[in-house]
Amino acid sequence: MSLKLGVPSKGRLMDKTVEWFARHGIELGRSGSDREYAGYVKGIDGVELVLLSAGEIPRELATGRIHLGVTGTDLIREKLGQWEQQVEELAPLGFGQADLVIAVPHAWVDVNTLDDLDAAAAAFRLRHGFRLRIATKYHRLVREFLREAGVADYQLVDSQGATEGTIKNETAEAIADITSTGDTLRANHLKILEDGLILKSQATLCRARAAALSDAERATLGELRARLGVD
């Protein structure tokens, strides 16, 4: 058997991952056509490339179906309970940087901190009869963050994409989403709360703690780590 390496199957994240491995003399590529989800690895023996949706990589690591995987720290922390016990973060890869933040309309001049958000949420609930809605796909991270901060009277509404638009569409009053430059937030007339940074994320090479290793796979893992400089 070979050591299974899970890599995002498309987009910038895949391209950057391929570049990062190439810098360490390991060539990753798609076999056959561009649409095929099978890959090859050149430059080291005994490693098999598994192309996966970035969002599935944390789960595949947790079950041990792949030994190594590249995904964002945001997804690891959102999708895995007690993630430290399930995966080991071997190396940040220096791309895919994104901050998970809480943002509100720029016009809310009275709301700049979590403290303000909490007070605004209380007043909002009295006025509108329901809890202030925060649109996000990071339910666990956001809920834990707001509980820790003691913010009450809000509810999370699920948004799997175009989250910045939910406020204008009046399906949410605030959002918690990832941003790299803040441009999209600004373009949508939103601002980040001063203490609203939930997590700084970037693409990270992770090792599955639960994945069983044969002697040969262990040797391959050792060699790969040495080659990648992540001993």
Binding site: P105, W108, N112, A119, R131, G150, Q155, I167, E170, E194
Partner: protein
Amino acid sequence: MPERAATLAEAARLRGLFEAAGAQSVETSVLQPAEVLLDLYGEDIRARAYVTSDALRGEQMLRPDFTVPVVQMHMEHGAEPARYTYSGEVFRRQEEDARRPNEYVQVGFEIFERDAPETADAEVFSMFFNILHPLRLRAATGDIGILMAAVDGLRTTDRRKAALRRHIWRPRRFRALIERFSGRAPVPETRAALLSARDPMAGAGPLIGLRGEDEIISRINALREDAQTDPISETEVDLLDAILAVRETSPNALERLRDIAVDMAAIQGAVDRLARRLEALDGRGIDIGALDFEASYGRTQMEYYDGFVFGFHAENRPDLPPVATGGRYDALTRHLGQGREIPAVGGVIRPGLVLDLGGVS
């Protein structure tokens, strides 16, 4: 963990004891409408309860506790006064500690009665005390009502009191509010800038979303008013701290609280209730001289309790959650009763933990 059959048999036995004390046995559904629980507990309940759904009824939760359905049942068609008992599984999501069970059996006992609440408090507590006595657990008691009375009695604006009351069960936020209202915490820069702005809406940009300009202006006005308000005095903050620090055997705690009430008359009524409760407990044969009282007990765990609270802990097994917990939840009945209310007190035992610790029969 004991076997399921043994746990259910123990649950039935415990329920029998409550029935013998005059409680009517009731059943509730495992699936509960999510809306009611979300409205009551907020988003946090999603971290603790399993949510499922169908296209007709929408979101449902696997019963995270019995209190809400039992209160609803009583508010709909219960006779007064009433004593109920029940047993069955509750379900709790566990995302941080896989050793904690996500499904366990509870046996409960609840009293709905208008007269003599302290007598009902004592009845519930002594039932639990006597049942659990062979396990030599540590009984902890407290009274959220004393802190609530202290907040209500502060010499400050209703708005500040409401903000503090809202965060009674979130000690960190409560403390942050006290720091701010007493002038100990500095005003954040952005807040100072907002308050001194001639036109705070200048440069606000386009208004988007449901929260309108009137709501923003109304909060700014509230903040301006608050900035003009005198800070909560050092003396009152010290008295609040003194209340929260009370942690003694019950008679000593009562003496201490009586001393505090001399300077903070607002808690006198709540302290009198504590005195009557201790008297009632004494009348039921509880050794109150050995009974611990902590004024801040139950503040982080038991959010709907607003008066007497108690818990039974296995001191030599710190890995275990409390074997039994309970308290008074008058406000919950007001919330679920849509205008009606009834004083209520009750608690639950976990028969699985009782057996874990060697059993009581």
